[in-house]
């Protein structure tokens, strides 16, 4: 059994090689500009979208973004851009 907090061997190798983790483990990549703008890559799809919540399925976890007047500027298979007043970004275990 893997000890709590210890990285898997594959991650240790990629970290040593200096490869960005989002490329190897398909971790979601989030770029945020203040509270107003959030750019997300590496997700599987939308589970819920209202003007207060956006729930995204990623390979690693569920991503819950809460806020007010949320607005999807664009949405494609690879990336999405969200604007509005973002109050929280939560990583939930699926």
């Amino acid at each position: 059994m893997r000890r709590k907090g210890k990285k898997p061997f594959g991650r240790v190798l990629t970290d040593a090689a200096g490869i960005p983790p989002e490329l190897v483990s398909s971790l979601p990549l989030l770029s945020m500009t203040g509270q107003e703008e959030l750019f997300i890559e590496n997700f599987k799809g939308i589970l819920q979208y209202t003007d207060a919540v956006l729930l995204l399925q990623t390979k690693a976890c569920l991503l819950r973004i809460e806020g007010q007047h949320l607005f999807l500027v664009y949405y494609t298979k690879d990336a999405l851009k969200l604007t509005g007043t973002i109050t929280s970004v939560c990583f939930l275990t699926s």
């Binding site: 939308i46 979208y49 999807l72 298979k77």
Partner: protein, 400 residues
């Protein structure tokens, strides 16, 4: 910005979708690479924008997911053209305008001359007119290379000329034969001649053979320093010549007659501050103007501000627009008192002297006297100036 223009050109629709599983619908759209933008939840539905092409591909996906789609807005050029398909006059105007623009683009409507110093732009414009490379000339009738050669031939001071056509503009760039910018090594074999008549005040020759001495009187065009240096043998006989670029500092003293006068009685324009304006449009040589009525003022100045219409700096059209200002004034007859006249003339003379000094000329003697009579005020006398001379000319060829 660019993306928005592109969307407008290609056209897009804003749709409202009702479905049981929104996440399934959105994810299936993403999976089929349909680009969705401005997605917003509205009253138990979603509103989003899609390109026309994506909308066509959406239909089978909507059927598959049981989605009801309603178009709420059609935007962009394709829809606009479709809506206005019955407006024949508008279409004709559009096509006519575009054709006119296309036709105008074959002609020269703007000429820009830069880098000229010895020849004014007006002189060059006049020459271009003679050469039939002027406003309204067909672009393909202008041979830029020939024009360059002709300009060089006509204006010998032009060392280098570039003529090119950009848009509807003919651009003439000139580099003049400014030998002063060259170093002594770069100078061609040349003599120095007198630019003005006078008495040689000082001559320091660095290169070449001086032909004059201090105190000599010379006429305009006289040879001052020759580029020809004789080669002598032991018996002091000339065996040949060597040529160089004559180089010397020569100061020449010249006496000029100075005369200036103005009448004591004069009329002064007193602007009343009243002004009227109108518009003007000039199409080619045809001027259409909406001038203010002439009868409104007794005496007035007419000032025109004109601009050429064009889409860019180089794509100009034969269309000028602007405003005409009519400024009223009253003529008041006045007379200078003797003191005023002398003061004015002194100021004028001093300004002229300052201009002379700015050119690096030394005023050696100033015998100008100011006098007033009943009718006018005049300044006359002699000015003795010491100035640099030595105009560089191609060397005089001697058969050796």
């Amino acid at each position: 910005m660019m993306a928005n223009i592109q969307r407008q050109m290609k056209g897009y629709v804003r749709i409202r979708v009702h479905t049981v599983s929104y996440d399934r619908f959105l994810n299936i759209c993403a999976l089929h690479n349909l680009y969705i933008w401005d997605l917003k939840p509205v009253e138990n539905a979603y509103e989003m924008n899609l390109s026309i092409e994506a909308f066509r591909r959406l239909k089978p996906l909507a059927r598959k997911t049981g989605t009801h789609i309603r178009i709420i807005k059609k935007c962009g050029l394709p829809f606009w053209l479709f809506r206005n398909r019955h407006r024949k006059a508008f279409a004709a105007g559009f096509v006519g305008g575009a054709s006119l623009l296309f036709l105008f683009s074959f002609f020269i409507w703007n000429i820009e001359v830069s880098g000229n110093r010895s020849a004014s732009a007006e002189v060059i414009y006049r020459y271009l007119k003679e050469e039939k490379a002027t406003y309204g000339t067909l672009k393909n009738t202008i041979d830029c290379k020939k024009l360059q050669a002709d300009l060089r031939e006509k204006f010998p001071d032009f060392l280098w000329v570039s003529a090119k056509i950009k848009g509807t503009s003919l651009l003439i760039d000139v580099k003049e034969n400014d030998l002063q910018d060259l170093t002594p090594e770069e100078l061609p074999e040349s003599d120095l001649i007198a630019g003005t008549a006078g008495t040689i005040e000082r001559i320091i020759t660095r290169q070449g053979r001086p032909q004059v001495h201090v105190g000599d009187r010379v006429k305009k065009g006289d040879l001052l320093v020759s580029s020809e240096i004789p080669i002598l043998n032991d018996e002091k006989e000339v065996t040949g010549y060597e040529y160089c670029a004559a180089d010397a500092d020569i100061l020449i003293k010249t006496v000029y007659e100075y005369r200036d006068s103005f009448p004591l009685l004069y009329e002064e324009k007193l602007y009343t501050g009243r002004e009227k304006s109108g518009f003007l449009i000039q199409l080619g040589s045809q001027l259409f103007s909406l001038k203010p009525q002439k009868e409104s003022y007794q005496a007035y100045d007419l000032v025109t501000e004109e601009r050429q219409f064009g889409f860019s700096r180089y794509f100009k059209l034969p269309l000028f627009y602007g405003r005409i200002y009519m400024r009223e004034y009253r003529l008041i007859k006045k007379r200078y008192s003797s003191g005023e006249a002398i003061a004015r003339m002194q100021e004028k003379t001093e300004k002229n002297m300052e201009k002379i000094r700015e050119k690096g000329v030394q005023i050696f003697e100033n015998d100008v006297k100011i006098e007033t009579d009943e009718k006018s005020c005049s300044a006359s006398g002699q000015l003795t100036l010491i100035q640099k001379t030595g105009k560089r000319v191609e060397r005089t060829k001697t058969d050796s």
